[in-house]
């Protein structure tokens, strides 16, 4: 990073990857990736200063289609990797892009603990309420009673409500947006990325192949924007919790909750000065002398 950051204004096109996208025509993920690029451009984050982490699933392919640093890891395991990356180089803008199964199903444990930690990164969940890449099994966010190849009589579990759990668990930024609204997505992603601390954006994502209920058409009349409500205060925990429970005929979009708490990295003493990756790997003689004395 000895080169100066170029001064031209980054455009969304700059983040185009060289790969052919393999999502189905009509998939909500197309809109999501476009909005991600938009947000990066808006925040003027150059590709080399961003680090994307993802899991396995349709949505998790996102970083493969992007020009930016990325690590496409394991199903459900993106958050610990993201936090390792952040601790190693806390100036990188770290963004996890994963599916609902990844985030809240197999990844639930890591999610819960990430909320408590407040590491400074963004988690964008492409929440299509279904396991798409494995061909349509129910997911934790599938509506109760959801019929799939593994739940022919309908899913018995009640849904996992990501925004409720995130707020309850200690997230400092919780938002929801919708793959049918490119502008709202881009704006929400930008806010999340700009937030200092752990930011969750749950994206209501259309899967045209496996989710024939929660379609763009289904969402469109139901969603409304909190951003339009001047009275809504996302810093009010109780109000946020109430909104977070809203679902069905009225589905709030926007920033549901914001809190301020020092980030994890800010509180790690060894990171006070330089990012870890830039620190020297060797030590002065005095340091070793002190060490030796302590064990003699």
């Amino acid at each position: 990073m000895t080169l100066p950051i170029p001064e031209f204004k980054f455009t969304p096109k700059l983040y185009d990857g060289e790969r052919q996208v393999t999502w189905c025509p009509g998939c909500g993920d197309y809109g999501i990736i476009a909005a991600v690029k938009q947000a990066l451009a808006q925040l003027q984050i150059p590709p080399h200063a961003a680090f994307f982490v993802s899991g396995i699933g349709c949505g998790s392919k996102l970083p493969d289609y992007l020009k930016a640093n990325g690590y496409l890891g394991l199903h459900g395991r993106s958050l610990p990797i993201a936090q390792g990356v952040k601790l190693a180089s806390h100036n990188l803008k770290v963004i996890a892009t994963v599916g609902d199964g990844d985030a809240y199903g197999i990844g639930a444990g890591h999610f819960i603990h990430a909320l408590r930690r407040n590491s400074d990164f963004t988690m964008i969940v492409e929440d299509n309420k279904v396991y798409a890449l494995t061909k349509g099994q129910y997911s934790p966010t599938s509506t109760r009673g959801w019929v799939s190849s593994t739940t022919p009589d309908g899913a018995i579990e009640i849904e996992f409500n990501p925004v409720v759990m995130a707020i309850a668990g200690g997230a400092t930024f919780v938002a929801r947006t919708f793959s049918g609204d490119p502008k709202h997505m881009a704006a929400t992603f930008a806010k999340a990325i700009a937030h200092k601390g752990f930011a969750l954006v749950d994206v209501l994502q259309a899967c045209v192949i496996y989710n024939h209920v929660n379609t763009v058409e289904w969402y469109r009349p139901r969603v409304y924007k909190l951003d339009d409500d001047a009275n809504y205060n996302p810093r009010d925990y109780t109000a946020a919790m109430q909104k977070a429970h809203e679902w069905g005929d009225h589905i709030p979009l926007g920033v549901l909750y914001v809190d301020e708490r020092p980030t994890y990295e800010e509180q790690v003493k060894s990171l006070a000065t330089t990012p870890l990756v830039k620190q020297a790997l060797t030590y002065r003689k005095e340091t070793w002398d002190e060490f030796r004395a302590a064990f003699m």
């Binding site: 080399h48 640093n69 394991l74 395991r77 601790l87 190693a88 444990g109």
Partner: protein, 642 residues
């Protein structure tokens, strides 16, 4: 009279502070220029249960426990009952007058017992110093040390120094003074027995002070010396103390250490940091490693360096948490689906824990793959006095392999960098993320040279998979052959790996002293190895006896895959206890024809081949001599106490 060569056992209930007093005495001895090796035996519970601390002292370096004891410091009745059998003739037990000794048993075995009213005196002096009885009683420790110094001829001032140091800023306080007084009293009292006891601890004139480290601390030190700045781990005995040690050193060396939510996260955090270019590690035991298996393969696929320490304990599953064993070798060798390069190192001894862990970080970056460091409970906890010359940590040379320099990165044509470029040695030049000219992705799917997902193309698959696997061939040129110890052309070769190194060496020395020409072939680097060079080494062994802390002779299996060579006999032990040199030598004497006809190989005494069933019995019989009996007693005692 034997000078500076003895073993002391300090036994009592968990919580009585045997570890502390043992460590204090060890410290005093090492400051006096003597060498020590010490280990403890403790139960998987927090309070109660019989524990002991075992301290071996030598004029020259000592590397392993002995199974002969010269002096027992008994803090509880169990200590007397359980260790009596281990004392050599002329040995002694120091104990409180309120404990019982069977005079007949002592006489029969020519063992002495020196009794003192430790507790009464400690209470008396403590009361005078205003201490409550609970704390006053703890001065038993100090009293024992005083008495020990006296009968071994060790200078009282050395003990006083350690007591003073332990009190640190509270030096000179009433409590500190009371402790000194108790020690002094015991020292003076015990003088009268000094002439009856044959083993002496005399500070040499040219004594040099050394560090005292256990294996896990040495692993942490190796990591720090190699520039490891990051450890993420989840507590699991006997791996926990690695992160605890590094956390304690974090300020000094500016490290980041992280206790994560589980072991899956532990390795993932480390891989995340490793991907960025921070030397990173995790440490655990077998059960925690089991949870890292999926991510291990991911590191293999994305070619991310990471160092993983597995401190083995007996399993399967939870097994025996505070015990030791060598059951995880094959697991580590083959963990995770399909195939990828990895390195497996099994250090033997404190200095090797240091050196081979440090080396692990170089290997991980040079070959861009996970490196597994395999230790075990016994080695994790056992301490040794070790000279800096044995572990020259200030001089360790960091080699980051094919890492692009800033200048090289600056010179790159943007968009041309290929993280997974094909190369003859399988290693692709590595750019750390963050440079504008080398923006790239890594993926756990099969991928192109640029690191993009490629789940279909068979030609790309074959190229990338072969490239990765080629690193194994390249690695073989650098990996070290097993080491020989003892005379060349021996009739019997003892083969082992990892933490048994010094017990086996001691067995070799004992056997040779008994006129049995034995040597040892010991593995620290286990995988990958050059098959041909290895076969040559093994060809030098006439009668190969495999010595392992597991049931199925795992190293022997590995060696057979490498070379086709199978051991001629096996001494396998899986009772959760470490091997001792004497135990191995005894087994060899009992089970191997140690005097083969000239020009012929050693032969088994009874049958040509030790069958599986027979082998188990042999182990059992051996145990019966020493441990089994004691164990039965230990159980009884524990029951009575709770």
């Amino acid at each position: 009279m034997v000078t500076n060569n003895m073993t002391i056992k300090i036994g009592g209930e968990a919580g009585q502070g045997m570890d502390t007093s043992g460590a204090g005495f060890a410290r005093a001895l090492v400051r006096a220029g003597l060498h020590i090796f010490a280990n403890s035996d403790f139960m998987s519970r927090i309070r109660g249960g019989y524990n002991f601390y075992q301290l071996r002292v030598g004029a020259k370096p000592v590397y392993a426990p002995d199974d002969q004891t010269h002096l027992v410091l008994a803090f509880s009745q169990d200590a007397i009952d359980l260790h009596l059998d281990e004392l050599v003739p002329g040995g002694a037990i120091i104990h409180d007058t309120n404990l019982q000794v069977d005079a007949n048993a002592l006489a029969q075995r020519h063992i002495q017992s020196f009794a003192f009213p430790f507790e009464a005196k400690a209470l008396e002096i403590g009361r005078a110093a205003g201490m409550d009885p609970k704390h006053a009683k703890q001065m038993l420790n100090t009293a024992q040390l005083g008495a020990t110094a006296a009968i071994t001829g060790f200078p009282f001032e050395r003990i006083a120094d350690v007591i003073n140091q332990n009190f640190g800023k509270k030096k000179g306080s009433a409590v500190a003074e009371a402790n000194l007084a108790v020690a002094r009293w015991a020292f003076d009292e015990a003088q009268k027995y000094a002439s009856q006891f044959d083993w002496k601890l005399i500070p040499p004139a040219d004594g040099v002070n050394r560090m005292i480290l256990n294996g896990n601390q040495a692993i942490g030190l190796g990591a720090i010396a190699a520039g490891c700045k990051f450890i993420s781990a989840y507590p699991m005995t006997p791996g926990t103390t690695v992160i605890e040690f590094m956390t304690a050193q974090a300020k000094r060396f500016n490290l980041v250490t992280k206790q994560t939510e589980d072991e899956l996260a532990a390795i993932l955090f480390a891989i995340g940091a490793g991907q960025i270019g921070v030397r990173a590690m995790t440490a655990t035991s077998g059960g925690g490693f089991a949870l890292m298996v999926e991510a291990l393969g991911m590191a293999g696929m994305t070619e991310t360096p990471v160092v993983i320490v597995d401190s083995q304990r007996p399993g399967p599953s939870t097994g025996m948490p505070t015990r030791t064993g060598q059951g995880d070798l094959l697991f580590l060798l083959h963990a995770s689906q399909d195939e990828f390069p990895r390195v497996v190192l099994a250090p033997g001894g404190v200095e090797s824990c240091y050196a081979d862990t440090a080396r692990a970080f170089n290997l991980a970056e040079k070959y861009q793959c996970p490196v597994l460091v395999l230790t075990e409970g016994y080695q994790a906890f056992a301490v040794r006095s070790v000279g800096v010359e044995e572990m020259p940590f200030e001089q360790f040379e960091i080699d980051r392999g094919k890492m692009l320099t800033e200048a090289e990165l600056d010179a790159l044509q943007p968009g041309t960098y290929k993280r997974y470029a094909l190369s003859a040695d399988g290693v692709s030049p590595r750019a750390l993320p963050g440079h504008p000219n080398a923006v790239y992705t890594s993926t756990s799917d099969e991928h192109t040279e640029s690191g993009r997902m490629e789940d279909e193309d068979p030609a790309n698959r074959v190229a990338q998979h072969a490239k990765r696997m080629q690193k194994i061939e390249t690695l073989k040129t650098e990996m070290r052959m097993p080491e020989w110890y003892g005379p060349q052309n021996a009739a019997i070769t003892l083969m082992g790996w990892g933490a048994t190194r010094y017990a086996i060496r001691e067995a070799v020395d004992l056997l040779n002293a008994q006129g049995v020409r034995a040597n040892a072939l010991h593995f620290i680097d286990i995988y990958p190895l050059d098959e041909n060079r290895l076969a040559q080494e093994l060809a030098k062994a006439k009668w190969l006896v495999d010595i392992e802390g597991n049931y199925t002779a795992q190293l022997a299996q590995v060696i057979r895959v490498y070379t086709g060579r199978a051991p001629d006999q096996k001494f396998l032990k899986y009772d959760g206890r470490p091997f001792t040199g004497a135990e191995i030598a005894r087994w060899i004497a009992a089970n191997v024809n140690t005097k083969p006809a000239k020009g012929k190989s050693a032969k088994v005494t009874k049958s040509a081949k030790v069958t599986k069933g027979a082998k188990v019995k042999l182990v059992k019989v051996k145990l019966a001599k020493g441990v089994k009996v004691k164990a039965a007693k230990a159980t009884k005692v524990a029951k009575a106490k709770n």
